[in-house]
Symmetry: C2
Subunit: 314 residues, 2 copies
């Protein structure tokens, strides 16, 4: 039987263990499973790694439980500004959008950018205009904004800080600490890798801040010659370390396993820059790693035999 | 005597050799020399690599001859949308702005982002607001737009293409083929590397397209442990190859010289992705490379002994 593998993540952070959080955790696990199954169906039917990544990420974008598309965290001004990227490990083609406010599924816009060759990274209103011309669904901001996100922003708006979505802090109720950035990496039956990431960024972000998710090499990267990576965490340290490409380089040039490369970068390089978070990484043989340096990380795996697993803690 | 090195570039492209182009070439060489001297003074007085990079890039931004700040190429809509980034090789701190329209010196905004820790990459109006709050000079679009750029846009507006600024094509008069993206890399007397890049992007660009210049790891990268790089060319292939970080990885993990790493990536990896352009790269020992795969590349070098050189062709 043709072999393939799909990994997804729904963000890393100080996932709370309280009773309300437990309920949310159960729901989130179900959505992760759905995402895995959606991607699995694509791969099972002979679809490509890119198509599986997009299918899985779309499920997570459409859920209000994660910080991507619907359910995105709110900016300082109370709106959403979303980023997404995809990369095809076979051709090294890539597409990304940043700071978009109206595209229902930013991951689809990223794919459209990749396929239309109108640049690799499109931002803001220009990206929205492009998405609309491509026939992608444009929605109002209200579609994305949930009551939980409004409360979350209110809580920290006056603190003048930005924070990882999934960090509640010990003094805050866990009920509105919805989960983080989402992403997927896949290896299809043709031996091709792909990666995709979608995010609402940091709560209370200002000044048109763009994180690592739409930056090829930082939060998203795929190369059949090394690995596919999707990252989540404090984006700035992931940009400065060129995180995903650094993992790929250690695999390609140092001969490290995907496990060693991903773990070193996540647990040593990123913290040395003051950052934290996690990554999912997958190589051409289906070997994978999901290291993180937060209390928990929402993540899951499905193989060609249809067996899936979802984890939040170790 | 304390040793230091500064490299600058003013873009790569099919630099014409006609008589009008010659005159422009002479003027551009003078500006490159001025940029080198400005950075040299900073380094001579004990300034840091970052300060020298910014001083040199500012000279090139202020000149209408290059495609950065004043003299930027025009977008499809006839305005400017500028990108810039800096990176400090000592701390791996970085700052960048993308799609800004009113900041007189985008490179200064990039440094302000780096120093204020408000993210690494800020885009659009948010970045402009940040720059204004930091006291940076905000100007009207008319400041940036030159008559030559208007003619250049008019010529290719209906072609529905984007092009490298410095590519005139053989059927076009050379008079308005002003030069490209600008950048600098420096090694200061303390042994620290830095890199900076500033650009107006591609002529006739649409949809909020962001190129490689403001992407850490793509068009701009610096790490004392490997190299400092500033790139110029078809940005998409530089993003997809994570060009600057790829050069750094080959130096760091393969043990390649800066010359070998930069040349391989510029002359093999980038063209394999359908791209072209050039890079300037400098290592911690002051060894450097300036490979390009276009007809010419505006570039220059100055050492601590005060001797400078400027090249356009080989």
């Amino acid at each position: 039987m043709a072999k393939f593998t799909l990994l997804v993540h729904g963000g890393a952070g100080d996932v709370s263990a309280g009773p309300t959080a437990r309920q949310r955790e159960r729901k989130s696990r179900l959505v992760l499973k759905q995402a895995l199954l959606c991607g699995y169906r694509v791969l099972k039917m002979g679809g490509t790694a890119i198509d599986a990544v997009v299918a899985a990420v779309k499920v997570l974008e459409d859920s209000p439980l994660f910080n991507a598309a619907r359910g995105s965290v709110l900016t300082h001004r109370g709106g959403v500004e979303m980023d997404a990227a995809v990369m095809d490990g076979k051709t090294l083609s890539a597409g990304a959008v940043a700071g978009v406010r109206k595209i229902k599924n930013p991951i689809e816009a990223a794919v459209a950018v990749m396929r239309c060759c109108q640049g690799v990274l499109l931002a803001g209103e220009g990206a929205e205009q492009f998405a609309a011309e491509q026939g992608l669904k444009i929605v109002k901001q209200t579609y994305f904004i949930t009551a939980g996100r409004r409360r979350q922003l209110q809580r920290i708006r006056n603190s003048h800080t930005m924070q990882l979505d999934h960090d509640s802090g010990t003094d805050h109720p866990a009920e509105d600490t919805e989960l983080g950035t989402v992403g997927a990496v896949a290896l299809d039956q043709y031996g091709n890798l792909a990666a995709g990431t979608s995010t609402g960024g940091l709560v209370n972000k200002r000044f048109g801040r763009i994180g690592d998710s739409p930056i090829i090499g930082a939060g998203t990267y795929a190369d059949n010659g090394s690995v596919a990576v999707s990252a989540t965490g404090t984006g700035e340290s992931f940009i400065r370390s060129v995180c995903a490409h650094e993992i790929a380089a250690r695999v390609k040039y140092c001969g490290f396993s995907v496990g060693r490369a991903a773990t070193e970068v996540t647990k040593t390089v990123i913290p040395a820059l003051g950052g934290r978070g996690g990554v999912i990484a997958l190589d051409h043989a289906g070997r994978f790693a999901m290291p993180y340096v937060t209390r928990g990380m929402y993540r899951g795996l499905i193989r060609s035999n249809g067996q899936s697993q979802v984890w939040v803690f170790d």
